[in-house]
Amino acid sequence: MTDTTTATVDNAPAPGTPLLQASNVVMRFGGLTAVNDVSLTVNTGEIIGLIGPNGAGKTTFFNCLTGLYVPTEGTVTYKGATLPPKPHKVTQAGMARTFQNIRLFHNMTVLENVLVGRHTRTKEGLISAILRGPGYRREEADSRAKAMEYLDFVGLANKAGTLARNLPYGEQRKLEVARALASEPGLLLLDEPTAGMNPQETRATEELVFAVRDRGIAVLVIEHDMRFIFNLCDRVAVLVQGQKLVEGDAATVQGDERVVAAYLGTPYEGNADSTTPEENQ
């Protein structure tokens, strides 16, 4: 085995202990407050949903969690340790993500994409890559075996040799999940995993997310699709105009008048964060 860190399935903390804790996160771009004082906790074994109208600051919040942005105020801790504000270190620590607009390595094969996901869990450097000693070969073989396993898990094992760009849309989403899983995360962050999917594909994604949870990985998911999110999540947080409106189980959220108002359009004054750089990428 390689230097598998604390984030693996085997030694994950008992269900119910806090995994990710974001406290009072504020993100400002110049004079614009995209995320305002949002706190969120994800416990092990949970599936948490984050919903909100377009431009509510969901992705910005996501980026604060994953180290792409440094929050203006507030802290983000993972397993009790403050996360370094560098995406690659966040992944190293055990949080992996997918992107709203799929960001695969298009000119690499499906297998290679997943192998890149193995990056933080492997350590062979340039010299050993050139010398190709037994240690290197073992790690590479191990990596490939694991990568195939993840591909099998999402149902893409038979496409391993295809270039990522040649996959149909739905399979590209699956590949992103496999790639993220390959980094053996304790928490998986999914940014609109069903965007652009038909009901069947959405249903399959639901199954996939449950299967991920069953592997002992907590999931935080941003989504628009209400039905999807309420079927899936243990708890749902609603973000509106950068602020957390309400948090609770499906029934609580669905029953909340403010949520209904935010979605069905009471006067929605201003567009506080429609220019959040993330939302139009």
């Binding site: 994953t66 792409l68 560098k86 995406p87 690659h88 992944t91 190293q92 992996a96 993500r97 992107f99 960001r103 695969l104 390595f105 298009h106 000119n107 690499m108 094969t109 297998l111 290679e112 192998l115 890149v116 996901g117 193995r118 990056h119 933080t120 492997t122 062979e124 450097g125 340039l126 890559a129 050139i130 190709r132 290197y136 070969r137 590479e140 073989a141 990596s143 490939r144 075996a145 195939m148 094992a157 038979n158 496409k159 391993a160 040799g161 295809t162 270039l163 760009r165 040649n166 790639r179 993220a180 980094s183």
Partner: protein, 597 residues
């Protein structure tokens, strides 16, 4: 005719030939043309022996007539393949007719090039004898016949002239059966021998006309073999016998000096070693540009750092340090110093946006030249002897083997440049190994991931800055290594060698072009690109004044029409096959498509 993607052309209604002839008649005309073309090489083409190669003799083909002869013969062979001749049928899995057209045109083009060259150089068409006219007309006849053959492959629609003459795109090949292992090994060896032969012939062409004719036919032949699917098939076989093919290729290259027996042997060996140095440097650049996607426009400076370092510790007179390191130490030192410069330059610039890197490296290239020029004792401390440079760099002597003098191996005399050729071949092998293995590893995947999408790569846990710096430093190190040999081969070193663009390689622009035009991210791309560039500038000296111009235009055209280069990146294919062979695990279904992006 909506679906042009037919694998078996016969199955669909084949498009009409460009010239409406009955198939049998077309075959006959082509065959007659091809045979006559080949035969015409044995006739006298001109009255005067002033034209190089002496084409006045009947029965003894000279120089360019051999090119015509080969062209005619190749056309005939593929015509016979298309006719279904037993034993030849497997030669054109992608369709023989389109191939025949290309070869016929190639034969005609090289023949007419010769005829025109004769007329121009000797002053008028009157200098052509009947034999010359026979050659010209026969080669055109073959083209006419070939255009009348039933068409295969994928064709663009429409009836414009271009669409009619286009020889068709190769259809996707059905998977091939494996041949007997011994037979495949034989094919590998034969291919390598043929490649060595063609290359040695090209290098040994002693006058520009012959080289140009050779290049025309070689270009068309390469296109034809690509169209016929032979290259693809050969690639598969090479892939299956990768170790043999790689080792064999280096052995074949090592034999190159032994093929040079003419009076030009030393000059050709010099050309060979220059190509190797240039190619090895380009390969280092390919890590930076092709794999990691970083545009380095001052790369030749790293070659310079290595070269100057080696020169300074070579014991050459007039240098600041009066020391003489053994070569292995000098080579190591050159590589390390160059690598350090890479880190020093990369560390501040690789954090910022990629475009800036291009300009900073361009600046570095210029600074390097200026600094070296200024360190002459007047404008600065005397280290490099300024614009005059360091001369009289002594020849190498490794384990008592003096690289400066000729040695005899049996019947072969191996001269100074040939010695260095063999040494540089070892260095090239090391660089190829470093490139291939790092490209095909965790490190290489990280580089490509950064190139493809840096944000996503970082989100997968890759430290973008560190890996970019690694690529940059590794590239610099390899260039420095090549530089240490460079300085010994050339006896001396002057700052002016290391320009951004200049009429002679190596310079940063040529290196970049060798990578881009050869094929980014591949091993063979820069090798092919480097050979082409070097041979072109060495052989076509009459173009000297326009070389850079043509070079600039070539760069523009390549980016426009074939951005993937001569040899497109089949890295993914390599990787895929390796997973089957090396790890012995079950590979996924071979749904391979190479990216042509």
């Amino acid at each position: 005719m909506t679906d042009t993607l037919q694998i078996r052309p016969e199955a669909a209604a084949a498009p009409k030939p460009a010239i409406p002839l009955p198939t049998a008649a077309a075959r006959a005309v082509t065959a007659a043309g091809a045979v006559l073309t080949a035969a015409s090489a044995f006739l006298s083409w001109t009255y005067s022996s002033q034209f190089p190669g002496d084409l006045t003799l009947s029965g003894y083909p000279g120089g360019l007539q051999w090119i015509t002869f080969t062209g005619g013969l190749l056309t005939l062979v593929y015509l016979l393949v298309g006719y279904g001749t037993p034993g030849l049928r497997g030669l054109a899995p992608g369709g023989a007719e389109g191939t025949t057209v290309i070869l016929a045109v190639g034969a005609a083009a090289s023949t007419w090039f010769t005829l025109i060259a004769i007329s121009v150089e000797l002053g008028g068409l009157a200098n052509l004898t009947t034999g010359g006219w026979v050659a010209g007309i026969a080669s055109l006849l073959a083209v006419v016949g070939a255009l009348g053959l039933p068409r295969d492959g994928q064709h663009p629609q429409g009836h414009r002239l271009g669409a009619l003459l286009y020889p068709g795109k190769r259809p996707e090949l059905a998977p091939a059966k494996r041949l007997a292992p011994a037979f495949e090994v034989g094919i590998v060896l034969l291919t390598l021998a043929a490649a060595l032969g063609v290359f040695a012939y090209g290098v040994d062409t002693s006058y520009a006309e012959l080289f140009a004719g050779f290049l025309i036919l070689a270009g068309f032949a390469a296109w034809a073999l690509n169209r016929s699917g032979d290259f693809a098939r050969l690639g598969e076989i090479m892939q299956r016998h990768r170790v043999l093919a790689t080792v064999g290729a280096f052995v074949a290259a090592g034999l190159f000096p032994f093929t040079q027996t003419s009076s030009n042997a030393e000059a050709n060996a010099n050309l060979g070693v220059s190509i190797l140095i240039f190619a090895a440097t380009a390969l280092g650049l390919n890590i930076v540009v092709g794999l990691a996607g970083l545009l380095d426009l001052g790369y030749v400076a790293f070659l310079g750092v290595g070269a100057y370092t080696a020169a300074l510790v070579s014991g050459a007179a007039g240098t600041a340090f009066n020391v003489q390191f053994p070569f292995w130490a000098a080579a190591l030192l050159g590589a390390v110093v160059s690598g350090i410069f890479g880190v020093l330059l990369g560390a501040p610039t690789l954090r910022v946006r990629g475009d800036y890197l291009a300009i900073v490296t361009l600046g570095f290239g210029e600074i390097f030249r200026i600094v070296v020029q200024n360190l002459d004792g007047t404008s600065g401390p005397n280290v490099t002897n300024g614009a005059i440079g360091i001369s009289n760099v002594p020849d190498l002597n490794i384990f008592g083997f003096d690289f400066g003098s000729a040695h005899s191996f049996g019947p072969f005399d191996i001269g100074r440049f040939a010695n260095y050729f063999e040494l540089m071949l070892i260095f090239t092998a090391i660089i190829v190994l470093v490139f291939a293995r790092s490209a095909n590893s965790r490190i290489g995947r990280a580089w490509v991931a950064i190139r493809e999408d840096e944000t996503a790569a970082t989100a997968m846990g890759i430290n973008g800055f560190r890996f970019k710096l690694l690529a940059f430093a590794l590239g610099a190190t390899l260039a420095g290594l090549a530089g240490t040999v460079f300085v010994h081969v050339n006896y001396s070193i002057v700052p002016d060698t290391f320009q951004f663009a200049g009429p002679t390689p190596p310079n940063s622009a040529f290196l970049l072009a060798a990578v881009v035009i050869g094929g980014m991210g591949t091993v063979s791309g820069p090798l092919v690109g480097a050979s082409l560039f070097f041979l072109l500038q060495a052989k076509l000296s009459f173009l000297h004044d326009y070389q850079l111009l043509l070079f600039g235009i070539t760069l523009i055209l390549f980016m426009r029409f074939r951005p993937e280069g001569i040899i497109p990146n089949r890295r993914r294919q390599l990787e895929f096959h390796e997973s089957q062979t090396e790890d012995g695990q079950e590979g996924p279904t071979p749904e391979l498509r190479t990216a042509e992006a």
